[in-house]
Symmetry: C2
Subunit: 108 residues, 2 copies
């Protein structure tokens, strides 16, 4: 049950290994656990755990195919995270705009 809450999303991204996995998947492809673990200095289970964290945060799509499990990046989750950051920026801009408007109104 993916959560999609911003904090959950950012927490999942807050680890170099997981960020690397997301980067690897950023071409939109699907990969198996072993494929994603290739070259990483840790056990398969460690990689599986990381993928589970990413999946739990709603960042990955999971598909079983035979004896393999394939993960793919969920673009909407990335957009959700981006959206939160945009909102922070918007709030900032909005406040400054209102401030500017007030100053100008005061001037006129």
């Amino acid at each position: 049950m993916p959560s999609s809450e911003p904090a959950h999303l950012f927490a999942a991204l807050g680890d170099p290994t997981r960020l690397g996995l997301v980067t690897r998947l950023s071409d939109g492809s699907e990969r198996s656990i072993v494929q994603l673990g290739e070259g990483l200095p840790m056990s398969r289970q460690a990689v599986a755990k990381h993928l589970d964290v990413l999946h739990g945060a709603g960042l990955l799509h999971r598909r079983k195919s035979g004896r393999e499990v394939h993960y793919a990046l969920r673009r909407d989750a990335i957009e959700a995270a981006r959206g939160w950051l945009d909102q922070v920026n918007a709030q900032w801009d909005g406040t400054l705009a209102r401030l500017k408007a007030m100053v100008e109104e005061g001037d006129g």
Copy 2:
């Protein structure tokens, strides 16, 4: 010494309390530790630790004024995080564009 590494940045944002603090600061204002802690169900020190994490990740600017310490959001850090997410999207788009180009070239 703020790090500004993406994983460090996301990790700092990966906690509801800290996300709330960032939201509070998203109007661009400066606030003291006690001010930022008002209404939060935890001790001042807990809040101070959270602010230190955010500052350590490069997300907050810190200014001492008399006996108070004021924190403000660093917009460039927010943009850095956003930039990383944008890059993931761009990679995705790029791959799809290349794929489409290949298909079209194959068709022509």
